[in-house]
């Protein structure tokens, strides 16, 4: 990969601005564990949303359970609002294959039938394997095969991006 990674804090502000015109105080944010939850917490404040924040862990809906087994660390999903007829924005840190988003949508529908679901991602890394497209993106960043961008959070709550070489998630 040639280009340097953008600053996560700058991207977060840009993402919030891109969302601002399209959300109402009743729009519900759901962060996908773990990086998506950090982002959703910050976006929830920046956008001054009224609905309590939801969090989702897609481990029980992943399509690689048969080959990889249960994820070693599963956190409870917490959806503290009525999903039926809700206007929902899913928040993830790095959008890649789209499989996590597929799993998250399947889980959400087990809570009820939302009015709409949109997708916000800090980074769109490309490499989609499913027909899933984000409505709000901080930046599109191309990476080489086998590279994966990861969001980190410091003890002070500062967000940053790192590049890992690993098998595609």
């Amino acid at each position: 990969m040639s280009q340097p990674l953008p600053d996560a804090e700058d991207l977060l502000v840009r993402l919030a601005e891109r969302m601002r015109a399209s959300v109402t105080p009743d729009t519900a944010l759901i962060g996908i564990h773990t990086g998506g939850v950090w982002l959703a917490q910050r976006l929830h404040k920046l956008l001054e949303l009224r609905q309590p924040l939801g969090t989702i862990d897609v481990s029980f809906y992943r399509d690689d359970y048969g080959s990889r087994g249960l994820h070693p660390k599963v956190r409870p999903s917490e959806i503290p609002f009525e999903v039926v007829d809700a206007d929902i924005v899913l928040v993830d840190d790095v959008l890649h294959t789209g499989r996590t988003i597929r799993a998250a949508m399947n889980e959400l529908f087990d809570y009820g039938r939302p009015m709409s679901i949109r997708l916000a991602a800090l980074i769109d890394q490309g490499g989609r394997q499913l027909p899933i497209a984000p409505q709000f993106v901080g930046a599109e960043v191309a990476v080489a095969d086998g590279e994966q961008i990861e969001l980190k959070k410091s003890e002070q709550g500062q967000l940053s991006l790192v590049l890992n070489r690993q098998e595609a998630a």
Partner: protein, 318 residues
């Protein structure tokens, strides 16, 4: 159990759940953590996740059970598995052969998991040794030996109310001699580092070597319950008693039945647990069973989440 643990696969992951004895604490905690996430699935509109879709789970019950079999069935169904319940009467002759033949036949029907209850200690181990490597076995109670999912759900319950195991005093009361539940609880409590585990009961209902398990032995309720955080009552197992171990149930209740007066020796915020089914008026007075400190019904709810966690972890460790 020395060195080789038949419950673990080559990667050290849980292949079968047969007993808590010898399980690494990380695996026990992983089950409890995973169960915590499954708890919220039971509160949703659609109480199901798709993890075990297409898997066939056989509940093989050679001994009567309502609560355990039902909660295993609900757990499997909430994981989207197909559940087949078999209540098999134990034949008096050639039990081993019959058991393995039954299992071989069910394996030929493409079973993925067996949940086994049997009056003979070691029955689940025997099955686990003979099944194909992709089949998982859960011990749902074998004789006097072990009932690991009950032990795990009890640990989940204790952690839910007491948060931490590191400073607890836990008393197990009653018929320890016949209780596989008590054995699994003792192994689980010591594995998780509970500093003080007590057993309380008459000499005739405590195993002679019980102190070798690392527990403190009491024969008097007032002394044994003093300042405990958790009181676990056991069911008096009349069906497993062959001799005159007790003068009478009334006599047992007088000395070991949990009444508000006896419970007053425990800490004011102590919780009262019972694995069920309860003999009201024999090991526990109704006012305690239904009282403020009782967590007996939450135990049942937690049991479903814990069994979901065990099944989901096992089936994922192919």
């Amino acid at each position: 159990m020395t060195g080789y643990n038949p419950q673990l696969n080559a990667n050290g992951e849980l292949q079968h759940l047969l007993t808590i004895e010898g399980l690494p604490p990380e695996i026990v905690l992983h089950i409890l953590d995973t169960a915590h996430s499954f708890l919220s699935v039971g509160e949703r509109e659609i109480k199901k996740v798709p993890l075990l879709r297409g898997k066939a789970i056989f509940n093989l019950f050679f001994e009567a059970s309502t609560r355990t079999r039902t909660t295993f069935e609900i757990a499997a169904k909430r994981l989207s598995a197909d559940v087949i319940n078999l209540n098999v009467g134990t034949s008096s002759q050639s039990k081993g052969e019959t058991l393995l033949d039954t299992v071989a036949n069910l394996s030929a029907m493409h079973a993925d998991m067996f949940v086994v209850r049997h009056s003979q200690s070691g029955a689940a181990h025997l099955i686990a040794r003979h099944v194909a490597p992709y089949i998982h076995v859960i011990n749902a109670g074998d004789g006097r030996h072990a009932h690991p999912t009950q032990g795990l759900l009890d640990m989940f319950t204790i952690r839910h109310y007491k948060k931490d195991f590191a400073s607890l005093r836990v008393a197990i009361v009653g018929d320890v001699l016949h209780s596989r539940v008590a054995r699994s609880q003792i192994h689980a409590l010591t594995t998780l580092g509970v500093p003080e585990v007590r057993v309380i009961g008459p000499r005739t209902l405590l195993p002679t070597n019980v102190s070798e398990l690392g527990v403190h032995v009491f024969h008097d309720m007032a002394a044994g319950l003093k300042d405990v955080d958790v009181v676990i009552m056991l069911r008096l197992q009349n069906e497993r008693m062959n001799g005159a171990l007790l003068p009478s149930a009334q006599e047992f209740f007088k000395y070991y039945g949990l009444t508000p007066e006896k419970l007053a020796s425990a800490k004011p915020d102590a919780i009262v647990m019972h694995p069920g089914p309860m003999n009201r008026g024999i090991e526990i007075e109704s006012s305690v069973a239904d009282g403020r400190q009782s967590v007996i019904l939450p135990q049942v709810t937690f049991g479903i989440a814990v069994r979901m966690a065990v099944m989901a972890i096992l089936a994922g460790n192919a």
